[in-house]
Subunit: 472 residues, 2 copies
């Protein structure tokens, strides 16, 4: 789809401004009215917040593959049944398992003091009792990568790169490279271990967890993230001379642990084999209770679907809510879903996922066929009263639906305001109190309307640009 | 002094409005100009910030009575010598010692999950391996106190009272009662242990440490503070039914540990046996690096005194900077100072202390003789360009100089804006990055001018109301 876009840049521009090229389709006034009624209901919804409160309170942290994630699936099945979904089931799969056991670090020598760290997912264990090694600081992963082989023999590499705050989360991509790459690069230079400044935008003593790779592979070294103030402290101490750190990380792994996706459906009518998928993930990192990442996303999509489920007349297409498992440690749920449904991905007419906190949605991006852009415009026009502006057509799907997008499933991306998201992301501070109920409800409203429009209109979001448009 | 104030309310009101009753003294223009020059120098000062950065970086946490507090005293002696103070010395004393060893809590049963706590200073240890007990929630210390004897047999009392945010810190007095009183009240009702919602205004997973009593006495039970989100979580779980918590606190105590006050002086000239005391405390709680509590206070008063020390002509009175030890665990430094100087407290013409963070000073309160209120007005008039308004005359001194105030030493209280102070107070988050350099320098400017005026004018801040003023 990206390739098509590149080939059709000029046509794409025309299509992105359909008022000039192609008038927006006239949305059936009854469908529009129903979507607007759903938005109003979403703004007054309590089901989503209650779902989120219940998951974060009763289950709490739910690391992928853990007993807690198992309990979360059972909890979700009961909740979905209570919410009257017509179908709810679990699709199981297995993952490689990693969990932290202990993690401590401290400066040793003339300035002895503790440092607050959290091991990165996939970190290996240090020797029992820990290691003592000198710190070598780098300001980027690229700098570490350029360190000569064996130059870090007996040392700990420290990548001290800050993250840029941004509304759309684009600072994350740049900052997360050091988390993914630190251990491998440090190992190449002969280091004993790797420390990074937390991938986050806050300045609290709450280090940010996170996996070393998106494939969930075990890392090659002990690796941990320092809380931002601890990274500052280490940098200040290094300005004064050599610094030695005691690092003790013990982790436990298992080749295989049970995980699964929990799925609920609002069965469609005249087009019931066509699927509008809205997703989130059920697992969380272990430090917090996974409220904004991603209990909130699950509460939002479940509440949106439930509002539609409660309508007297069900929409034409089937709405499938997928609460993915094991997202955090390697996108396992997303891949398992795509594999299990490989034969009917062509029936997935649209996919959207809520996995960027609980901030207000400010923009609607899409990843549609160029000929379907008028539908994007029509959707945004309905959502506009919620304070949602049009975005571009480059959406490829987030963590769990990216694999669907890559397989050609059209994507809708209602973009949340993530300005503060990385203050909390993957930390112990990701708890229910951080959710703004009004912003949360705005999300429910938007998802309810968007999902309803996709399910009821019968629009083809894959629609290619028609030849006459190209020739215009 | 309070009694006099009560007896002379009307006269006091007159004195508080000296423009009507008694014109403000004409401040010698040269003295005023010098004070203004000191303010300008304070606003550009780097010494105080460097002092604070160095203490928090090189020593880090410095629990009263610990090796780290000992190192802080040696560090301070070297710094004060480097800053050219004419005199620097340590007055030693001993304290009972308490330190945390381990502290963990978790919900057990159907909703198993960790709770983030920190043991309160003076907490006893639980049985090795911890205890499991049901939680009984109270919304105030008064409620717990009214629990019948033996009604909490085998239970853990939980006081879940929030703290009110306030600029002047007055929310602390109300909130801290539960920290001081929880263990004793819980023990009276037969409980096994006591938990409190942290005494703080934030909502981070960073529990607030603090002593159980101002006397540093060992508590009667294991006691700990929950981080605010963990208190929320416990309250939500209790709404669903009984909750059992596993609590494991191990603490270490010693009957006697070394502490001390570090003192530096700017020797006066014609009135050199009269002392203007400006103080702070050198010790900190152990979780953070004690940046706003109270390395900043020490940086502020040291920098202010050093600006005066660097003047070509020293002021008439002696300026004594006292970096108190062991404030946090029982105000031991303040009491030791008052005891050691009991015979010359009459020579202490004024005392002020900086121990409320690093926020801007917004108000000058005093605890002067009623006849000396014109001097308060004159001081505030000089400080006004820093954004400092007049306060009342009820200041009695903070933690370490309260004992001086009670003994009749006049008090100046340059009140810092503490709106955010209790977000960080006694948590791991109390680190150098939290200090706003501009606000810090405003403090240095105010302390430099105030201290200089007190030392150079020869004003008598004890001055009683004169009979003719009463008769007006």
């Amino acid at each position: 789809m990206m390739k098509t876009l590149a080939h059709l840049t000029f046509a794409g521009l025309l299509a992105a401004a359909p008022a000039m090229a192609d008038p927006a389709p006239v949305l059936d006034p009854e469908i529009r009215a129903q979507a607007e009624a759903l938005m109003a209901a979403g703004l007054a919804d309590d089901v989503g917040l209650e779902f989120t409160e219940s998951l974060t309170t009763e289950i709490g942290p739910r690391l992928a593959g853990s007993d807690a994630e198992w309990r979360a699936r059972q909890w979700a099945m009961i909740k979905l049944k209570d919410l009257n979904f017509q179908q709810a089931y679990i699709e199981s799969f297995n993952i490689p398992y990693w969990e932290r056991v202990t993690e401590t670090a401290s400066v040793v020598g003339d300035n002895p003091q503790p440092l607050l760290i959290t091991a990165l997912g996939g970190s290996t264990s240090t020797a029992k009792g820990g290691i003592d090694a000198e710190i070598v600081r780098f300001t980027s992963l690229a700098d570490l990568k350029s360190a000569p082989a064996d130059s870090l023999k007996g040392k700990i590499a420290f990548i001290d790169e800050p993250m840029v705050r941004s509304q759309d989360g684009s600072g994350y991509g740049a900052a997360v490279a050091k988390r993914s790459g630190c251990a491998a690069a440090a190992a190449s230079a002969g280091a004993e271990a790797c420390l990074i400044r937390s991938v986050g935008t806050d300045s609290h003593r709450l280090p940010h967890a996170g996996g070393m790779s998106r494939e969930g592979a075990l890392g090659v070294l002990p690796a941990a993230a320092l809380a931002a103030p601890d990274a500052d402290q280490l940098a200040r101490l290094l300005q004064r001379g050599p610094v030695k750190v005691h690092l003790d990380i013990q982790a436990r792994t298992s080749a295989s642990a049970a995980s699964g996706n929990v799925i609920a459906e609002v069965e469609g009518t005249s087009l019931k084999d066509e699927i509008v998928l809205i997703g989130c993930h059920l697992d969380s990192w272990d430090l917090g209770t996974g409220a904004i990442d991603d209990a909130a996303g699950c509460g939002i999509v479940v509440a949106a679907a439930r509002l539609i489920q409660a309508l007297p007349a069900k929409p034409k297409r089937t709405i499938r809510v997928v609460l993915y498992g094991s997202e955090e440690v390697g996108l396992f749920g997303g891949k398992a879903y795509a594999a299990a449904h490989a034969d009917d991905l062509g029936k997935h007419v649209l996919a959207a996922e809520s996995d960027f906190g609980a901030g207000r949605i400010w923009r609607l991006r899409t990843g549609f066929g160029e000929g379907a852009l008028p539908y994007a415009e029509a959707m945004q026009d309905v959502l506009a009263p919620l304070g949602i502006i049009p975005g571009n057509n480059t959406a490829t799907g987030g963590s769990d639906i990216g694999v669907l997008g890559a397989a050609g499933v059209p994507i809708a991306s209602p973009d949340q305001d993530g300005t503060d998201y990385f203050d909390l992301h993957h930390t112990a501070d990701d708890t229910f109190d951080k959710i703004d109920p009004d912003a949360f409800r705005q999300n429910v409203a938007a998802y309810a309307a968007l999902t309803y429009l996709a399910a009821e209109t019968g629009w083809d979001f894959r629609k290619p640009v028609e030849p006459e448009t190209i020739d215009n």
